[in-house]
Assembly symmetry: C2
Homo-oligomer: 282 residues x 2
Amino acid sequence: MIRLITRGAKVTRTTVSHADLMGAPASAVRGAIRTGSYTGHTAGLAAGKLQCNLAILPERYALDFLRFCQRNPKPCPIVGVGDTGDPSLPTLGRDIDIRTDVSKYRVFRDGALSEEVTDISDVWADDLVPVALGCSFTFENALVRNGIPVRHLETGRNVPMFRSNIDLVPAGRFGGKMVVTMRPIPTEQVESAREISRRYPQAHGAPIAVGDPSQIGIADLSAPDWGDAVDIKDGEIPVYWACGVTPQNVLLAAGLPICITHSPGHMLVADVAEDAETTILP
Amino acid sequence: MIRLITRGAKVTRTTVSHADLMGAPASAVRGAIRTGSYTGHTAGLAAGKLQCNLAILPERYALDFLRFCQRNPKPCPIVGVGDTGDPSLPTLGRDIDIRTDVSKYRVFRDGALSEEVTDISDVWADDLVPVALGCSFTFENALVRNGIPVRHLETGRNVPMFRSNIDLVPAGRFGGKMVVTMRPIPTEQVESAREISRRYPQAHGAPIAVGDPSQIGIADLSAPDWGDAVDIKDGEIPVYWACGVTPQNVLLAAGLPICITHSPGHMLVADVAEDAETTILP
């Protein structure tokens, strides 16, 4: 069990399990997280709803960060941006309080991890801007719905992630290389996987490369930089998608005095349908 | 003939016609505009390339304007954002100079039209941020390619535009009501028109309403607020799309000390393919 530093209004207890929350609506998942009843990961919860990567940063860096995300829409698809100092994100969910509604946060100071917490109420400040970015859960769900196997889900692992040699388009102090995920796909389903994932521009879209890992600067598929290695079976080809760890790395490298992200797998669960035309609540 | 106030490097002459530029690549269209050889509209030029609405505003308003556009993606799809004070837009075209590469601009000061010019070199300032937004040419081309008639194109008119009663999601001083365009579509092709236009989120996407104009606050389809009225024939239904005049109106209402837009129909012609997955040049 991971030791959590618990702060703010939440108490350190887990009274609701992941299984308990299966089938619960997004607002109930957020509610359990908000009260401290649930501090686990959000994979598989609030099926059909958009889940989001989170980046919170001071307003003076926000324009450049939005420009950076606009220029790198595949790793950094913007799905919601809050007002400065306002912890609600009304276009993503009717009652979101971004200070409490994510089950685990990482607080970075001057480019280094400072703390991992379940509540950022006492870190929140009037100059902070919350930015929500799309996440691969959305297109993975669509692949599975369409009969395309996703190995790391089948085997209960984390997706393998790799630092590529693909340059990001910089903006201000934000730039670097793209992080990609790899999923082995049966050869005859690669085109279908491309078509399906392309329908989700809010969730990394179509693959950025297929096949030989060296074409994007990956030396060894059995040694991911993050996550777990997965087997590539006969008749399968490695397929690479842009990854939401990219903006986290870029924020880290930018060395901001403070920025806050979700912890991996502990996403913001929105009320927006993951297959909606836009990520703005009607 | 409209009297143009010509400023900066361009001279007042039109040595190249619209017909001369048909079939020319985007860079040649921009080149003819840049040198002052062409000052006309861009409809039908650089076929297959993205054309863009343009908004240029001071940096201190840019974060709120980007938030506004993100919250209203159907009328205001962001396709490119420049660095502050930098007139290039390298993600949209390799040689763009936004001060000269649009054939007609409108300069607004304190919320009122100040001048209409063919060059903004002497208005440009180090604190200005250029923002390019998608335009309806993209999905209209796709409708026509797929055999769906577009009345105002058939009849050589401007698309009819209406102020709707649909509230925009505000950000900072930006907000108001959505402007919509109307195209009469044969009843049996409405679903197809919806599916086709939905594939272009960078160009207003799917319709926002179909049928009775009163449902979105339009009193009289024969009296558009901008553009030209078009006939609705037997067997056709009026279909409404979000319109790129929306951000222009919102900017005007915001009363910024200065902002600059393209003049209607005089769009920024990009090198990006209009059916590319993203609006970022590879």
